[in-house]
Structures are given as C-alpha cells and as structure tokens.
Symmetry: C2
Subunit: 215 residues, 2 copies
DNA sequence: TATATAATTAACTAACTAGTTAATTAAAAG
DNA sequence: CTTTTAATTAACTAGTTAGTTAATTATATA
C-alpha cells in the first residue's frame, strides 16, 4: 500500500528542520543562527522546532549527531572491504576528503565545534570525535603490530589529516578570491580537486609511517 | 619625567577593551560575544567601546589585526637569524606552535574565522592570512630552487601544519577529559608538550620535503 | 583662571532573542 | 460519524542585543 501524499507529515517536517538547521548552523554558527530565521528558511512555524527538538541546544545536538553518524558510516563501510592497514588508512583519508567536499557543512561545523573545545556540546561531540579518532588510531596500531607502520603519534597525524582536509574545504571561496588578484605570485591551490589533495595528504602520511615508501 | 597615574588614559582604556575582547571573542565567538558583557569584563562603560571602535565589527577587526600582526612579527623575527630553508621552516613551525600554545586565543579565533571562510572579515583576514602563508610558501620555494626541497603543494602542507597545531591547542581540555575515562585504550596525547608536537610535525614535513631525511 | 577638548557616564531605543501558550486544524481510531 | 490524538498556528512574553544621545566630568592649554 503506497503512502498517500499527506498534508501533515511529522517525519518530513522534522527532516526539513534538520536540513535547514545544518545549512544555517554551518554558515552562521550556533550563536549566529536564530530560530526565527530557521523557521522562515524551512517554511514551518517556529513553534514546530520546539515541538520536535525541545530547545535550540537539542536541535544542534540532533544536527551534529546526524552528520557525525553519516561520516562514520561512510568510512566504516568503505574500510570493511579491505584488511590491509595501508589500504584502510588510504580509504579513511580519501573517504573523509570526498565526504567533506560533497557535504561542506561537515568541516565548517566540526572546525567551529573543535575551536570551542566543544563549548556547546562537550559530552556528545566528545563521544563522536572519539569514535572517529578511535577508528583512525586502530588502523595505525594494527599496522604497527603487523610491522608495516612505524611508531607514531596518532593524535597528531589525525589532526594533520582532518585539519588540512577541513581547512581546504572551508577556505575554498577565500582561496579562489586570492587567486584572482595577482599582485604577488602565490599558489593557493584554488583549482585543485579534492581527489588530488586527498592523494597528496595520503602519500604524505604514508611517507611518515613507512620511511621507505615511494609514491 | 615620569608619567603620573592618570584617572583618564585613552590608550589604557583602548588596550583594556582589546584585551577583554580577545578573551571573549576567542572563547564565545563573534556572535556569541555581547558588548554589555564585554563592557562588564573590562570595567568600562559600554559606550566607550563604540567611542573607540565605532561598532562591533570594527572592534573585531582591531582584535584580529592585533593578533595576526603579533604572530607575524614573532615568526619573521626568529626566521631572520637563519638563511637555510630547512632551518627557517623548522623555526616557522616551532615558533607558530609555541606562540599558539602561549596565546591560545590565536588558534581559537583563527579556526573560527577560517571555518567561516572569513564571513565576518573577508577582506582583512584574507590579507593577513595571505601574508603569513606567503612567508611559508617563500621558504618552500627557495628550498626548491636551492635543490634541498622536493616539489610540493605548499597550501596543503601549510594547512597540515597550522591545522594540526591549532587543533592540538584548542582541543586540549577535551583531550585531557578523554584521557581520564579509560573505557577504551586511546592515546589522545593529553600529556604531550607543545615542543614535542612541534618537533614531530616539523620532522614529518621535512620527511615529505626531503625523501631521504632521517630525524 | 578660563576655555576648549577629550574621556566617561547613565539612561535610553528599537529591533531581535529563545521559548511559551492556548486555540485550531487534520488525520487516525473506535 | 464521533472521539481522540497528533500536527500546526498566531500571538505572546520576558529578556537581550547593538548602538545612540545628551549630559557630565577631567585634563591640557591659552
């Protein structure tokens, strides 16, 4: 039995709020996003936001939960098809890069949260961040046990990876603008594809982990 | 002739506003900082802020200008004492790390701004960012010409450096919290000194630029 | 000492903020 | 067809926001 088109659809309304919230939170930040504006953006009455999400913080929590789960799912899925630590690491970095690029709200929101050390959502961000870093860290540890990776500082390498990829995505408009004025010669990578950047980051990290690695 | 203690000192008032603004903007962000709160924080009447800085954006601009100039000065000073591209690069990274650690508002503000692609201050952030990146980029280019560095993607390497160092500083409280609960084994580098991290980042970048480099 | 100027203040405004409420609709269940 | 329940709305509140204004101090100068 096919669902008929309903005038009232709780799930659709809820989804619409989350989607608009992702857009606004990632561009204007938590404090910079107003619930009036959000209601206008998604075409629903403001009271609906509080009806479904209790308060602003609750909505923000739902938004962060959603996108962090999404990226985690995307990465674990791709990784599962391989057992080699090298390939898994490569897959991790490339999947993160591609996902970040096609969902640019992720880097914006993540950097904003991390630059606050989780001022809005300490507990929850903490758990999700930990989960993703745990994945990365496990790959390095396994590679080390198997003798294919050198001993390393996983936290620093992780930040080198997500730091660079996130910044590449969020600064894209800024870097393109920089490329237009040619007062000084400066390559801001304004035409680079995310695949090339992911590849470069991957080979750099592998170079660090495998001293005799050649790309 | 020594200046007597004055009840009215424009420079001191202005300075006091900027210092409090740095503190608040870096912890609460632009939108999250209120001018009433700032006035209370620095013990001056709110009207003084508008008297000296015209409006909120003007104050923010002054704050960003100040700290970006400070880090630029710190780095150029240290770098000037060497001519070798390798040593200059090492000095760049280490000075940035130490400065970021002892002025933790820098990473917080920079990451916030960069994650917006300069939503508040496109023009100015743009120029200051360019200047600092130009310094980094010049070192790589000179090293390349002199045959001591491989060809590289300076923008990506730059983001790997400042991305990791900034994140290490801003997430410190979060990582220390993570270290306390030991449900899963996970090294978050909570006890690491910034010197060790800067060293590690430096040797990683040098490894990328000089394939036969041994630390 | 008188005057001009710069620094400071309290009190104000108009717009905006997150969140509430009570009434109203639409759909599902009996 | 009626009743219950869930979804939606307009209108509201109480507090906060950036920014203004006119009056008032203090200081340097003539």
């Amino acid at each position: 039995m096919t669902k008929k088109i309903q005038k009232r659809d709780a799930e659709a309304s809820k989804r619409s709020i989350v989607l608009s919230a992702i857009k606004l939170f990632s561009t204007r930040g938590y404090a910079g996003t107003s619930m009036d504006e959000l209601a206008k953006e998604c075409g629903l009455n403001k009271a609906m936001i509080f009806y479904y999400f209790k308060n602003k913080k609750g909505l923000y929590e739902a938004v962060m939960e959603e996108i962090l789960q999404e990226i985690y799912k995307a990465i674990t899925q791709k990784i599962s098809s391989s057992t080699s630590a090298e390939v898994q690491l490569e897959t991790f970095i490339k999947t993160y890069g591609t996902f970040a690029c096609s969902h640019p709200y992720l880097p914006a929101l993540l950097l904003k949260e991390l630059s606050d050390s989780g001022a809005v959502l300490p507990q929850q961000l903490f758990k999700s961040m930990r989960k993703l870093f745990g994945l990365f860290s496990d790959i390095l540890r396994r590679g080390e046990k198997e003798g294919v990776f050198k001993k390393s500082m996983p936290m620093v390498l992780y930040f080198m990876v997500i730091g660079s990829l996130n910044l590449i995505v969020t600064t894209k408009p800024l870097r393109q603008k920089a490329a237009k004025l040619d007062d000084i010669e400066l390559d801001t990578c304004s035409e680079c594809e995310i695949e090339d950047i992911s590849n470069y980051v991957t080979s750099n990290i592998l170079l660090v982990l495998k001293p005799f690695y050649k790309e």
